[in-house]
Symmetry: C2
Subunit: 250 residues, 2 copies
């Protein structure tokens, strides 16, 4: 407690904090470009690796986004997404004044034995059953936000791929198959963007992510969807509500 303020903070962290303050105070406005790593190094009389470490810290904290090999920019405030709301991501973004978008990466019918046991078990299906695998990239104000990896039983939703999958898939299930998602369990895990997903999103690998596995059932408890979603943790704040009557207590 004797010394403080800057008690043996490493240099790269002090620099990161300095820049973070400049961002929060508005000196560095949203979408403005940070100095390049070499510029920063020269300005501050430090090595480029140290400047780089500082910027990396800010990227991990979500204050800054790297745009390819062009430079690092001050990021917009995080989007908020309520995982336990009945409203989907699309609707929540729209309500917040953000423009949602979706892009189909792939949509195909595959045999159960090619997608692994975890998924087929989740859908209560066997290796010889067919499932639709739909991969979508969803955006908020053109920023990539989440990759959705969804599986639907083919025998329950024949010809699902003939519909416009850019729209709400749940909407299609309701309207054309008269099946309503009635409940779901979501399993979350903090993880990291691996190279392939990062490439799909057009961002740097190793960003923090929230991986969500979702098991959805219809009103009669039939499994109708297994989804593996990968959300960018640096751009989203997640909200979860617990049940109305909780009996906590150890």
């Amino acid at each position: 407690m004797s010394d403080n303020g800057t008690p043996a903070q490493p240099l790269y962290r002090q620099i990161a904090e300095q820049i973070a303050e400049e961002i929060e105070s508005g000196i560095r406005p949203v979408n403005s470009k940070l100095p390049s790593e070499r510029e920063l190094a020269e300005e501050l009389g430090i090595s480029r690796m140290t400047a780089r470490a500082a910027i990396n810290t800010l990227v991990l904290q979500g204050l800054v986004v790297r745009r390819g090999r062009i430079g690092a920019y001050v990021s917009r405030p995080k989007f908020r997404f309520d995982l336990s709301s009945p409203r989907g991501l699309h609707e929540q973004l729209k309500k917040a004044g953000v423009e949602p978008g979706a892009k189909i990466i792939s949509a195909e019918k595959v045999l159960g034995n090619s997608v692994g046991n975890e998924i087929m078990n989740a859908l209560a299906m066997g290796e010889q059953d067919e499932v639709y695998r739909i991969i979508r990239l969803r955006t908020a104000n053109d920023e990539p936000i989440v990759i959705e990896n969804s599986y639907f039983p083919a025998k329950i939703f024949p010809d699902l791929l003939d519909f416009n999958l850019t729209d709400s898939i749940y909407g299609i299930l309701k309207k054309y198959f008269s099946i309503t998602p009635a409940g779901s369990i979501q399993e979350m895990e903090i993880s990291y963007l691996d190279s392939q997903w990062a490439e799909l999103m057009g961002v740097t690998a190793d960003l923090p992510t929230l991986e969500v596995k979702r098991y959805t059932v219809a009103e009669d408890n039939t499994p109708i969807e297994f989804a593996h979603d990968i959300y960018r943790g640096d751009r989203i704040t997640f909200i979860a509500r617990t049940g109305p009557t909780l009996n906590l207590g150890t």
Copy 2:
């Protein structure tokens, strides 16, 4: 997807993958020590910084934990914690055969104006009201897992600090104040361990965390607790349940 196998993967990532495979295949068992950064560098004919980057990747992925300046060790499988279960962390760990522990970092009575508006608003209190601020470090098998930062209104729970706060606080509220937590909203955000919390946990800074802000009310809807919990994301898999009708088989 275009090319294949090892398509321009950076060296440190290839090495990380190699070690990850050795961990998953059991060649490197749980709790075994990895080679030191210098050893690894010499073995593989690379620089120490590259070896370090590889190990850092594994740490971020949760496969490896650093133990101070002693070395890096293969970590145990992640603990699972169901955020929406009525059972608390203590009970869930115990049920999973894990030994839960808790340590009081600090427990004090403070004035509202010293803890910030966010907290006092959450508790529906003013700047001149008093609150108890209790900081606890909780462990699983002696591994630090979460820092709990809890605030309770002093006028509702007089002399709360006289009880043994190592036990379940909710249990104390029920037993001695006849107040039962009836519901809560939790707000989650992926974040990073800053230096001070990391030091408290005895781990490296910059580990991924799940920050949870919890607003708990009694049966009459009176706010009785605001909590800011910081969970280690590299050691826990979080579960959340959503949806009105839950009755999945499993």
